[in-house]
């Protein structure tokens, strides 16, 4: 009753559609450049690890991954830390301007990054954070904090109010109640919103590239270096691309049981 006729076929075809381009990237990353350019082969005939070896031994390459992970983790921590109390406030209390504030937050989630690229460049240069992971982490807050507040608010609203009242009657102070009781209760919600913060910070490139030049350059920006006078180094580009997929895949694997609920923003 739940599903439609031919669902296995539809699902199968769609999954193939999703996986084929990724397979092609993986396939290319194991080929030598001469094999890529000269022949059309469905799998690597002379498999090689040379591209991966180059990325893992060349500091200018692997530092890009470290830089990216650095600002993504920073951003996730900042977003969740500031969003938690706000989500509680929005869920439990009515206060002056609450609806307007919520809309304002949400509208920032929707603002195009291209609008902010240039002003951010000026702002972070002026306060001396340019080219540090902090600049990118703070800049990404503009779309991750509203999202985290939105998701967490749904989860906090799922916790019955009686629990708060009982805790306060039992003599819990507000911070103690928050950390000891509320946070464990919405742990899955925190996991889901951390997943979303990680995801959106990891995939964003425009701001990350604008706000860094040398020291904090994200891997995505370093990938553009594969264009050289001798033409594209396709194999290297593919290998770098494959390595950017791996952190995301790992994160998905850990939260796979919460994905469906998380995508409904805890509100269905």
């Amino acid at each position: 009753m739940h599903s439609i006729p031919g669902r296995r076929l539809i699902m199968g075809l769609f999954l193939i559609f999703l996986l084929l381009p990724i397979y092609w990237l993986v396939n290319m990353s194991f080929k030598t450049n001469s094999e890529i350019v000269s022949t059309m082969t469905l799998w690597p005939h002379n498999p090689t690890l040379q591209h991966y070896r180059r990325i893992f031994t060349d500091e200018s390459w692997y530092s890009g991954y470290i830089n990216s992970l650095e600002y993504v983790v920073l951003n996730t921590i900042i977003s969740i830390a500031v969003a938690l109390p706000a989500a509680y406030a929005f869920s439990r209390y009515r206060f002056l301007g609450d609806k307007h504030l919520f809309f304002w937050l949400l509208s920032n989630r929707m603002a195009p990054a291209a609008v902010y690229a240039l002003p951010f460049f000026n702002l972070y240069s002026a306060i001396g954070l340019f080219d540090t992971p902090w600049a990118v982490a703070l800049a990404h807050c503009i779309f991750n904090v509203p999202l985290a507040v939105w998701i967490l608010e749904g989860f906090v609203s799922g916790v019955p109010r009686e629990i708060d009242e009982t805790a306060f009657l039992d003599g819990y102070s507000f911070p103690r109640f928050f950390i000891k009781i509320l946070v464990p209760l919405i742990a899955s919600g925190i996991g889901v919103s951390a997943f979303f913060c990680f995801m959106f910070s990891w995939v964003e490139l425009l701001l990350a590239r604008t706000l860094t030049s040398v020291h904090a350059k994200p891997i995505a920006a370093i990938m553009t270096r594969t264009v050289s006078a001798a033409g594209m180094d396709w194999g290297l580009l593919a290998a770098a691309g494959v390595l950017t997929i791996i952190p995301g895949a790992l994160v998905i694997w850990f939260v796979r049981n919460y994905i469906a609920r998380g995508f409904a923003l805890g509100r269905v």
């Binding site: 599903s3 949400l106 702002l123």
Partner: protein, 324 residues
């Protein structure tokens, strides 16, 4: 449940307010400031009033022509991908396996494209579509199509649209799946007892229940496709010619390419305003839908989606809301 009025809640919201205000209000003020001025380099600025805005909305000028053309392209793009992704997403969500390890496997594979950095998405399709080294381009050319996204407008559009469908249909599908999962089993049993057809079940039970998540999906997809930048930029660079230059690409060209701060700022503001209006409509519709749901649930708890009077759940089977 009524919320208590408590102005001290502002202290809890303050950190969020400060962080977002730092990242949003300060830059926005810079943009407003720039939008009224003209620059000839050397950090010399001249007052220009609303000149840029006038030019922006007048298609006969260079700036206005470019802006309105890219806006049109962007709207067309958003409509096309919505028309493909929403029905496809629903079909995929309905095709999800019911239980077992395949559910987790499908979820993981579905979510995979969402977590690939956007420029890598572009790279993947740039490679995949090339006639010389990419599978898609090679196969299409072998089949007799003269496919080349670098030189042909239609092919470039085709590539960008297929890429977006590849990238984001999963989001719609996962949202719909979450909506479907929240339908209590009793509804299906009731429908079975009534002998409802597959289509009737979809129309009377599943679609109304997916209403809310579908709304989220449509609006998220509209917003995100309306500000798309990285993926088409990597694949086509906005070309051939200007055929895939969307608003964000045009904006970055003016701002960071030509350093024409005044024009870029004015464009940013108008662009932002459009997004803000759509966002406001979204927010109003969402909150109203929430209120309606609540009212309905309070007055008549058991019969929320009213497919037919006979389709009420069997009393013995309490509807289980919120499947974990």
């Amino acid at each position: 449940m009524d919320k208590t009025v408590n102005q001290k809640a502002w202290f809890l919201v303050l950190p969020v307010f400060l962080v977002v205000a730092f990242s949003a209000v300060l830059p926005l003020m810079t943009v407003v400031n720039y939008s009224m001025q003209d620059t000839f380099g050397n950090n010399q600025f001249f007052w220009n009033g609303v000149g840029w805005f006038k030019e922006l909305l007048d298609p006969s000028t260079d700036l206005g022509g470019r802006f309105l053309a890219s806006l049109g392209r962007n709207l067309l793009f958003s409509l096309v991908i919505l028309a493909i992704e929403v029905p496809l997403g629903i079909v995929v969500a309905l095709s999800m396996p019911r239980e077992g390890w395949t559910v987790a496997a499908c979820l993981v594979i579905l979510a995979l494209p969402l977590l690939i950095p956007w420029n890598v998405v572009g790279t993947i399709w740039q490679i995949f579509g090339r006639p010389d080294i990419g599978l898609l381009g090679y196969v299409l050319n072998a089949m007799g199509f003269d496919y080349n996204y670098v030189s042909n407008d239609v092919d470039a559009w085709f590539t960008v649209i297929v890429m977006d469908v590849w990238h984001w249909t999963s989001l719609v599908a996962l949202l719909c799946y979450a909506g479907l999962k929240s339908i209590p089993e009793a509804y299906y049993q009731a429908a079975q007892i009534d002998g409802a057809s597959r289509w009737a079940v979809f129309k009377a039970i599943q679609l109304p229940k997916m209403n809310r998540v579908l709304l989220i999906a449509v609006l998220l997809r509209f917003m995100d496709s309306f500000m798309i930048y990285t993926e088409p930029f990597v694949v086509t660079g906005g070309g051939p010619g200007n055929s895939t230059t969307f608003v964000s690409i045009e904006l970055v060209k003016i701002a960071l390419g030509q350093f024409d701060l005044g024009k870029a700022a004015a464009l940013s503001l108008v662009y932002n305003l459009i997004i803000l209006i759509v966002c406001w409509i979204f927010y109003t519709v969402m909150t109203n839908a929430g209120v309606e749901r609540k009212v309905q649930a309070e007055s008549e708890p058991a019969a929320e989606p009213k497919p037919a009077a006979a389709l009420k759940p069997v009393p013995a089977l309490e509807p289980r809301e919120g499947v974990a």
